[in-house]
Amino acid sequence: MEQFLYYLRASLVSIRRAPLPYALTVFIMALGLGVFFANATFYYRLNADPLPHKSDKLFFPMMLLVPWECNDSTCKPPPVLSYANVQKLSSSDIPTAKAAMYSSDAYLRLDTKQPPLPVSLRITQRDFFRMFDVPVLHGSIWPDDSARNEVILTEALAEKLFGHSDVVGKTLLLDDKPLTVSAVLQNWQMLPRLYDANNRNYTNAVEQIYLPLETGYDMNYLSNSQSSTFDDTDYRQLATQGRTGALHQLQYWVQLDTPAQQQAYRDFMHNLATTEQTAGRHPAVINNQLTALRDIVTYFGGESGDIKAFALVTLLFLLVCLLNASHLSLNRYLSNQYELSLRRALGASRWQLQQQMLVDVLMLTLFSLAGALLIGFGGVQLMNYLWPANRLFAGWDLLLLSGLLVLAWLSSYLVTLYPSLRASFGALNQQLKE
């Protein structure tokens, strides 16, 4: 410890000798690391696995059940299903859990005297909460998938409406239809929100209100994200037309825990498609997809290309910064060469000099890390301003900060390594004369 403090003091003395070049080195390092870190924050968050323990067990089934000829490889199954097709898929007992869902908008108030508040809806089924590990704070989830005049709120919305979160049994008006609160969800945010991955919806916040699927249909809520149809039915009358018509708006998820279950479900889908084809309900070639949660963004081609490109640019920028910092560092060490050579002449081994260099690395790491955090914070704010859609992904966690610390250490070491090796080798006598 005493020797460490000595090296620390030696390092500070060396900094005091030429503070400006040192400050410039730190600034360049901090700039490179900070800019890289700001972008890495979004890259890391957007590519995170929100459910690592089950992201390979939750699957998104898609089937090419369209009423026209579609026999080439460009024909992909639509990402949403009709109500009737969901019913057919739901008939299988192979999945451990299954839930159809879609998103919509509504207006909410507690009584008719209040101005209506726009809210986001997820219209879904009971298993949604279990499959996606949604935490319940108060009350309980619906016991089955039948229609019921009940809603589930997020904690934040309950607080906003009622001033507290324990509001189970209270009534509210959703588009002026009275509904009872059956549960309140603990504040949660699935990042990225992969249960709704197509059209890059996964960057959005989770919805504020959860409504049973059957109730959503009864209340004529249409999807606000993606829907398609093959006929000219007026689906604004969803309650009467939506369950039988060709309106495709439902996302469907199943939980298949084992490879055997997954294979069995693939077989089930194939048999279903064959049956539909045989019955003449679709002429297209059979094309079923069963995509895991962790692959869903890639499948939909929704990866953030801009962030990826930025990652490359900021990495190159970091390398340029490191090269510049290394050059400055080399000059600094060469100007200190005399002292280092004197230390060697008086008995310091190269390893002892390297230990002193490691303390220099530590100092450089700490200073550049502090600067990188400041610049990184500024960079994140700037990116929030430029790409507000990614705002939810701006958070730092311990793993990310640890990554920055390791990167700062490695960068400082790389910047110091060559100069320190140069300073440790060479003809002592010559260096002492210089």
């Binding site: 005493e2 020797q3 000595y6 003395v13 005091r16 000798r17 002292e339 004197l342 230390r343 060697r344 002449a345 008086l346 008995g347 310091a348 081994s349 190269r350 390893w351 002892q352 003809a427 002592l428 006598n429 002492l432």
Partner: protein
């Protein structure tokens, strides 16, 4: 103490080779005070640097305390320099940002002494050179003579067996030079072997033995044992020969 056999050193550039030392043969016994003299560029400083392991050599052998220096690892050479050799440079080579205490303490740190032992040795060395009251001064606050005394204190703090001095009075006026020489004589009388490069004939005469180098070669008789009184190049008898 020091045995050098057929030692040669060549400085090479792309265009020329300079034979700085040619077949040097030199034996120095413990406790001797040897002055290395010779014209500028004759190789005396190079020889001193080789003796101090600051410079490598091309051929021959160098034995220090019976141990061959050739092929020693960096760690072993560092330990050798740290424990057995003290250096006094013409330009003092003090670190300006450090106090006298810190400067003198520097080689002791690499020796692994604890803080109390380092303090004891530094204070003793400062007393020896008469600068005990100025331990917290910085080199820039001292005269040239005082700075050289600090360098001597640094060299003797680790109680080395050999002191290598490269023109230790080269940058000093005559009064200060005399004081430094007296100090070196005193250190030598305490049993430390000293090899000193000097241009000054008067200082050379104060050494126990003079060894002259011309064009990288020792003058014939100088290379032999210090007790070779019949050697015409030995100007006076050695002192404090063990």
């Amino acid at each position: 103490m020091i045995k050098i056999n057929n030692l040669s050193k060549i400085f090479r550039t792309e265009l020329i080779e300079t034979h700085a030392l040619k077949n040097i043969q030199l034996h120095v016994s413990e406790g001797e005070f040897v002055a290395l003299t010779g014209p500028s560029g004759s190789g005396k400083s190079t020889l001193l640097n080789v003796l101090g392991t600051l410079e490598d050599f091309d051929s021959g052998d160098y034995l220090l305390d019976g141990q061959s220096v050739k092929g020693l690892s960096d760690k072993a050479l560092s330990a050798l320099r740290n424990e057995k050799i003290g250096f006094i440079f013409q330009g003092f080579n003090l670190i300006k940002d450090y106090s006298l205490f810190d400067n003198i303490e520097l080689p002791l740190r690499y020796r692994g002494f604890n803080a109390a032992e380092r303090k004891r040795r530094v204070e003793y060395a400062l007393e020896q050179v008469g600068l005990a009251a100025r331990r917290d001064y910085h080199p820039s606050q001292l005269s040239g003579g005082q700075q050289q005394r600090v360098a001597i204190a640094r060299a003797i703090a680790g109680q080395p067996r050999i002191l290598l001095a490269d023109e230790p009075t080269g940058n000093l006026d005559s009064l200060m030079a005399r004081q430094v020489m007296e100090l070196l004589e005193q250190i030598n009388q305490n049993g430390c072997t000293i090899l000193m490069v000097t241009h000054d004939p008067e200082q050379a005469r104060r050494a126990g033995r003079q060894v002259q180098i011309i064009d990288g070669q020792l003058s014939d008789a100088a290379m032999y044992d210090p007790l070779a009184h019949n050697n015409p190049l030995v100007k006076s008898s050695p002192v404090a020969v063990a």
